[in-house]
Amino acid sequence: MTVEAPVISGSSVVKLARGVRLREDSVRGRTVLLAPERAMALDDIAVAIVGALDGNRSLDQIAADFAETFEAPVGEIAADVMAFVQELSIRRMLEVIE
């Protein structure tokens, strides 16, 4: 069967797939990302990245915006964003817009 997995690069625009959502977990006092049979506890950085996956900005733009906001090197941030987004993509938690 020939089906292609999405290729994600810095110019990709993505958002959370339907059925994947952020939720405040007040009982455990954390933010969780919920997906089928999965609950991931996210730290503040991961929450910020998920929040930025708005389906409008590319991953490069998101990294540049973070670099400005947090006054951090854009290369490092871009690598963090890409690693996290790749992880979500492998788990089928993302919709690739373009």
């Binding site: 069967m1 997995a5 999405p6 059925g19 009982v27 455990r28 089928p36 990245i49």
Partner: protein
Amino acid sequence: MTETLTLAADTGRDSRVPPPMAMLAELTHRCPLACPYCSNPIALMPAKEELSTKEWIGVFEQAADLGVLHLHLSGGEPAARRDLVELTQAAASLGLYTNLITSGVGLTAARIEGLADAGLDHIQLSIQGVSPESADRISGYGGSYERKIAVAGWVADAGIPLTVNAVCHRQNMGELDEMIELAIRLKARRIEVATVQFHGWAERNKGALLPTREQADRASQTVAEAREKYQGILVIDYVPADYHSTYPKACMGGWGRVGLNVTPSGRVLPCHAAETIPSLSFDTVRAGSLAKIWYESEAFNAYRGEDWMPELCRACERKTIDFGGCRCQAMALAGDSSATDPVCIRSPLRERLTRKADQLSAESSAALIYRGR
């Protein structure tokens, strides 16, 4: 940046009981299918004893307060409940991640639209095989295969994410490759390949369903290859044949650690087969709160921690990985629910189980005893 909560519950020496992550609500035992491995008990609950709409919604509210994140609406066939959309709406409005586990029979395009509008997060649709002949023979329901294919199309049209559930056993394991491809064609994002577990109805069909060792090895190989081939396309969750495994499964992620089951009449169980352990009695949501049952009931505390474990498990480094294995399986195979799961290579009963498994899987009989018939 992330950690899986179910693993996080186990860190450190903290002996406090963590709140439950997931609840399986068995809304009904009614089901048009008659799968010979059904996980429902042999004694099926009649409709008149089922919790009412209001009672179920009350249970969902308690579950959300208790910390449950994932709610699985199951059965029987949950679509047999006329209030399914209403129950879904109530669950979703509480913020519960709401998943419908269904055979597809009883769902229409309109009803699936209704579920999507009610906020259903996800659907798990079972398949029994890759052709009408093989699938309908296992489900005991003519036309079920065609219906499921139609349902998958309606689910995709409604935009609800889909997982295909494939229970594997000796009679369909040869189709595993095709089941994985079927899941992709049905636009599923995930497939759960679960080798049949021998409780309840499946126990009665062991001679016809137990895979051979060769089949089990091949299935593991197929899954490993497909995971690589379809990375980013299809997530594959896999439960191997535990009679042919070296170590037992971490059943339910540990007794009373991660999840709970509520039966159609409101009895609260640590797992769906727990009622096969005769020394335990189970409380019902009609008589007490879910929180009290989770934290304080005798049944939920029976196999928490390690005090209950035999020395073999208590001294073993795997006790925090598989928690001594499955209590119901220990009951079924060792006659003692506190024994080491006989699947474990370190169990004194393992050799006997291996001989038994080889003997059962060599049986040529394919005659099935159907659920409820």
